[in-house]
């Protein structure tokens, strides 16, 4: 396809496009892989809380330092996201408020506070604040080479830690009690995993935005779960899906005027989820529908055969056969099934509407 090779060429030559593609690939891989654990531990919404809660962190980091360097803002975002997680845990353990409610409260309080700070910052007369609002819905085109370095180092470190603690994290996700009995500090592992998730989220905020970043944690893993039953494959596939969604969305939005990056990336991720939900073997809806139809047809054929056999046993020596009407009364809609059985040589026609079993059909019913 000429468009694709053209795009490939553009990716290689165009500096901005290359930066955008590399950055969004990095964020997609990191959030996809770590999102796997969040999804398996039913903590998808924790990702949403962390990303929304990061906004005041970004704003405060800017207010305190006056810097818009991505490392500074990312550290602010990470601290706020982590603080929000601690607050959720604190609320759950000291009050009667349940986990999902605590998430909702912390998410909205932090996000609201972040919006207030953002508005205050934008009212300031000088122009130094320009661009902070890109953290709401993301802006891939604003990515710089220096941002790439930050994203690459943080994301790489998070992935490396995940791989090193792979079997411990698997234990955490599958059977925490058993892990405790083996002597692994499961609480600390929980904190580690949350910290890694925070890193995966904050490095994507500039590109995807706080509002939709959670989708990059949830969607790739949810899509990948349709295709595999192995944890390693699942994480790798989720990383791949994340990268695909990130790169395609970011490139699309930076090549199109006024197309916001975050929503475009999320739409690309959604497309991957939809395709997976429909087409994945065994778990996909289409596959299941086809198998259901095959099974139902098999059952109908078997029912007609069994009915014919029952009639034959009730009327020994009968030479006239039985009509489709009689069979339909017994198990409904017999005509099509009779034709199919006839094609397979399991029944034979004695008259225009008179059917009886062949020897093969009789053997079939006694199986």
């Amino acid at each position: 396809m000429p468009e694709l090779s053209l795009l490939g060429l553009a990716l290689l030559s165009d500096y901005t496009l290359r930066t955008v593609a590399l950055g969004s690939a990095a964020l997609g891989i990191t959030s996809g892989a770590l999102g796997t654990f969040a999804v398996l531990r039913r903590q998808s919404l924790l990702g949403d809380a962390i990303s929304h809660a990061a906004l005041p962190g970004v704003a405060l980091a800017f207010l305190l330092t006056g810097s818009k360097a991505s490392l500074v803002l990312v550290v602010g975002a990470a601290l706020a996201g982590f603080l929000a997680t601690l607050l959720v845990i604190g609320v759950v353990s000291t009050t009667r408020i349940k986990y999902d409610t605590a998430l909702g409260i912390v998410l909205s309080v932090f996000f609201g506070f972040g919006l207030v700070l953002l508005t205050l910052i934008q009212r300031r007369p000088d122009a130094s604040q320009a661009g902070l609002d890109r953290f709401l819905f993301g802006q891939a085109a604003a990515l710089l080479q220096s941002d790439l370095v930050t994203m690459g180092i943080l994301g790489g470190a998070a992935l490396l830690l995940m791989l090193l603690a792979w079997k411990e994290l698997k234990l955490l996700a599958f059977d925490e009690d058993f892990g405790t009995s083996l002597g692994f500090p499961m609480r600390a592992l929980d904190v580690l995993l949350t910290a890694l998730l925070v890193v995966a989220i904050v490095i994507g905020l500039q590109t995807v935005g706080v509002v939709l970043m959670a989708a990059m944690v949830i969607a790739p893993a949810a899509a990948a779960r349709q295709w595999t039953d192995r944890l390693g494959t699942l994480a790798a596939l989720a990383a791949g899906f994340g990268a695909a969604a990130g790169v395609s969305g970011a490139v699309l939005s930076s090549e199109t005027e006024r197309l916001p990056t975050g929503p475009t990336i999320v739409l690309c991720a959604t497309a991957i989820v939809l395709v997976s939900l429909l087409l994945a073997p065994r778990r996909g809806l289409v596959w299941r529908e086809l198998r259901g139809r095959r099974d139902r047809r098999k059952l109908r054929l078997a029912a007609v055969l069994a009915d014919l056999r029952a009639l034959e046993l009730q009327h020994p020596g009968d030479e006239h056969g039985h009509s489709a009407g009689v069979l339909s009364v017994m198990s409904g809609g017999a005509e099509a099934s009779l034709l199919e059985l006839h094609r397979r040589g399991l029944v034979k026609r004695l008259g225009p509407d008179a059917w009886t079993l062949t020897d093969a059909g009789r053997t079939e019913t006694s199986r």
Binding site: K167, F174, D177, F178, G179, S181, R230, L231
Partner: protein, 244 residues
């Protein structure tokens, strides 16, 4: 020295005592059942011995020392329903988790661990299912996988939380055989058990628990109607039927 020694163990959730001043000795090489009504603290007792619950008072020793120092001597079989069986992993992979304690941090299971896991699967009659996705297992097969995971720990003391819960008759028989094989090798098994009828047949010793320890010792001495009435209160009537 006993396999397990519990002294003055008291556990409370908030103000409500779950275990009150429990003493318990489990001799080496016996199969012991822990029985008692719902909420009697059976699971909590086990979890406290294993260091998952902090006691308000008292202590538990395994082979004469605190559990933290004896982890490699202990294997644990949690309740089957405590995990998500739709988790994306295979039978062999779950069994390998029993080796993680020996492996320590970062190191991955090697061929030796795999061999141990396959041997354990063979012992529970699941060799052919090693590669199967765990969501495709029946309840009895899930329980066998958990037992195999405990077997690869090559421990001395096995704690099992309701190993017979919801398994078919064939699996129940297989588990009993397995417990006896462990005993024949001098291992100790402590199991939370619900079916009072089978206690005398399956176990050597029994602990009757209802927040306090009612009785503990050989089945022939302790498993009396009097003790059961004291354990289950007015509901002792169901002794002889299928226990709670």
């Amino acid at each position: 020295m006993n396999a397990v020694e519990v002294t003055d163990l008291t556990v409370a959730y908030g103000e409500k005592p779950v275990l009150w001043d429990v003493d318990l000795d489990v001799p080496k090489g016996v199969l012991m059942a822990i029985v008692g009504p719902n909420g009697a603290g059976k699971t909590t007792l086990m979890r406290t011995i294993l260091g998952m619950v902090k006691p308000a008072a008292g202590q538990a020793l395994v082979h004469g020392r605190p559990y933290e120092e004896q982890r490699l001597l202990v294997a644990y079989v949690p309740q089957r329903g405590s995990v998500d069986w739709d988790f994306p992993t295979s039978v062999l992979d779950v069994v390998l988790m029993g080796r993680y304690g020996r492996l320590g941090w970062v190191r991955r299971p090697g061929s030796e661990d795999r061999a141990a896991a396959r041997e354990a699967l063979e012992q529970v009659g699941m060799s052919e299912l090693a590669g199967r996705q765990i969501s495709q297992l029946s309840g009895g097969q899930q329980q066998r996988v958990f037992l195999a995971r405990a077997l690869v720990q090559h421990a001395e003391v096995y704690f099992m939380d309701e190993p017979f819960q919801g398994v078919d008759a064939t699996t129940e028989k297989a588990i009993v055989e397995l417990l006896r094989a462990l005993r024949a090798r001098g291992k100790t098994v402590v199991a939370v058990h619900h079916d009072l009828q089978t206690v005398p047949e399956y176990f050597d010793e029994v602990t009757l628990l209802n927040v306090r320890r009612i009785a503990s010792g050989p089945v022939s001495e302790c498993f009396t109607e009097e003790n059961l009435r004291r354990t289950y209160g007015g509901r002792a009537a169901f002794f002889g039927t299928n226990g709670a």
